[in-house]
């Protein structure tokens, strides 16, 4: 199962987004973003429907940034929103 990382502007913002998604029953937690470029934080989705999570975040006023997927072999690749 792939983990998806949805970049958000700050750690606190990622934490609020993770709480929001968890409250909707979408398993999520705030995490250090796995891409390089300095301090960046993301909501990590453990499996589940990435597109639905993105839609819920946008509806609630969050502004998602870049999205990455971690493959089963540990590699990371950027994904389309």
């Amino acid at each position: 199962m792939q983990d998806a990382y949805i970049g958000l502007r700050s750690l606190t913002y990622a934490q609020r987004a993770a709480r929001f998604l968890s409250g909707l029953g979408i398993p999520a937690n705030a995490a250090r973003a796995p891409w390089s470029g300095g301090c960046a934080y993301a909501v990590r989705l453990r499996g589940g429907d990435r597109k639905a999570a993105l839609a819920r975040l946008r509806e609630a006023g969050f502004v998602p940034g870049r999205i990455y997927l971690r493959e089963a072999d540990g590699s990371i690749r950027e994904a389309e929103p």
Binding site: R9, T12, R16
Partner: protein, 375 residues
């Protein structure tokens, strides 16, 4: 020792506060500085503290809860974010130096909405009079640290909303006992210490950030690492990062969360009721002593957990020293609030101040009254 200086800091804390601070020192690293478990555990602790404070104070967005060192730090952040030299600022007659000195340092034009002690209607009228002439900022001390008088924040907030004037509330003596409604008030900022009525450790404070006037980012007091967007040369635009440069005080924050939990469990209104009963009792017992001049509200609902008094033939410092020799910890003097004494007419001598907490007992008040009979 009978500790009656809770307006300075609540020396006695719930046991959970000490435990949380110790656990944080042993297990928490720095939030926003790494993705390893100890850093993320710190981030979780900090966020839970923000959530707890947001819930207590009716804030919808926990990121609007900013950690600071104390109320003075929060008030400096707030005031220096909002006003510029020469601008007109309206304040109450009971402000602490934490408000007066930043305003003075900025070179603002300070207008005092002066009103007699324990007269909220007169205070509201004084604000209305001053705000009608325009202002860049209004500041209101919710509860005086000298006299415990409760200022009419709701009325002042309504006046500010009508005129589009940003409002800063100093909740140093009210947080934890009186209802705070930053969003309903539409306050730009509400500043409070963590180490008084919220029972957290010293070195903690909260700045609740509301809607800011204008579209520009809040002016900063400190710049530095925020754990976000490190390549930009200025501080990030968003809260809390913009106002939280440098490493957070995690033992303090963990302890503060335990203090906030304690306050939520006890219930601020029950704590207020306890403190007002003790102050009312003290006013009655001390008021019966002809050697004392007691500054008590005619209605206990107008006063928080602070009571000032003077001993007629003794200066305050001598009286406090004699009380300390008998095991009572009270503060004497001007309490860093000379304006409050000027307003109340006690500026020459200052006062002795007793201030209570949830840990103060009726027997403590009775023993103080007895000690004052033979001082």
């Amino acid at each position: 020792m009978i500790y009656l200086d809770n307006a300075a800091t609540t020396l006695q804390k719930p046991a959970a506060v000490y435990r949380a601070a110790e656990r944080a020192m042993l297990t928490l690293a720095s939030p926003g500085r790494g993705g390893y478990p100890a850093a993320m555990a710190a981030a979780e602790e900090a966020y839970r503290c923000r959530e707890t404070a947001a819930a207590l104070f009716g804030m919808r967005e926990p990121e609007r809860v900013v950690f600071c060192m104390n109320a003075t730090h929060g008030l400096n952040l707030a005031i220096k974010a909002l006003v510029r030299p020469g601008e007109r600022v309206v304040i109450s007659g009971y402000e602490h130096n934490a408000v007066l000195r930043p305003l003075h340092a900025l070179g603002t034009r300070i207008r005092v909405a002066a009103a007699p002690l324990f007269d909220p209607a007169a205070a509201a009228e004084a604000y209305a009079r001053e705000l009608r002439q325009g202002a860049s900022l209004a500041v209101v001390n919710h509860v005086s640290n000298v006299f415990g008088c409760i200022q009419p924040v709701e009325e002042v907030a309504a006046l500010c909303r009508e005129r589009g004037i940003p409002l800063v509330v100093d909740a140093s003596q009210s947080a934890g006992i009186l209802p705070l409604h930053p969003e309903e008030w539409d306050a730009a900022f509400v500043a409070m210490p963590g180490h008084k009525g919220l029972y957290g450790p010293q070195g903690t404070g909260l700045l609740l950030c509301g809607r800011q006037p204008g579209s520009r980012p809040i002016r900063t007091l400190l710049e530095g690492g925020s754990g976000s967007d490190p390549r930009r040369p200025d501080m990030p635009d968003w809260l809390p990062d913009r106002l939280e440069a440098g490493t957070l005080n995690m033992p303090g924050i963990a302890g503060l969360r335990a203090g906030l939990d304690f306050v939520r469990r006890m219930g601020p209104s029950d704590i207020l009721d306890h403190e007002q009963r003790l102050v009312s009792l003290a006013a009655e017992l001390l008021g019966a002593n002809p050697r004392l001049r007691v500054f008590a509200a005619p209605d206990k609902a107008l006063q928080g957990g602070v009571l000032s008094f003077q001993v007629t033939e003794l200066d305050c410092e001598t009286a406090a020293e004699r009380l300390a020799q008998r095991g009572f910890s009270l503060r004497a003097g001007l309490h860093c609030a000379p304006l409050a004494h000027d307003t109340a007419g006690t500026g020459e001598r200052g006062t002795l101040r007793m201030s209570v907490s949830v840990f103060t007992r009726e027997s403590h008040v009775r023993r103080l009254a007895k000690a004052l009979e033979n001082l």
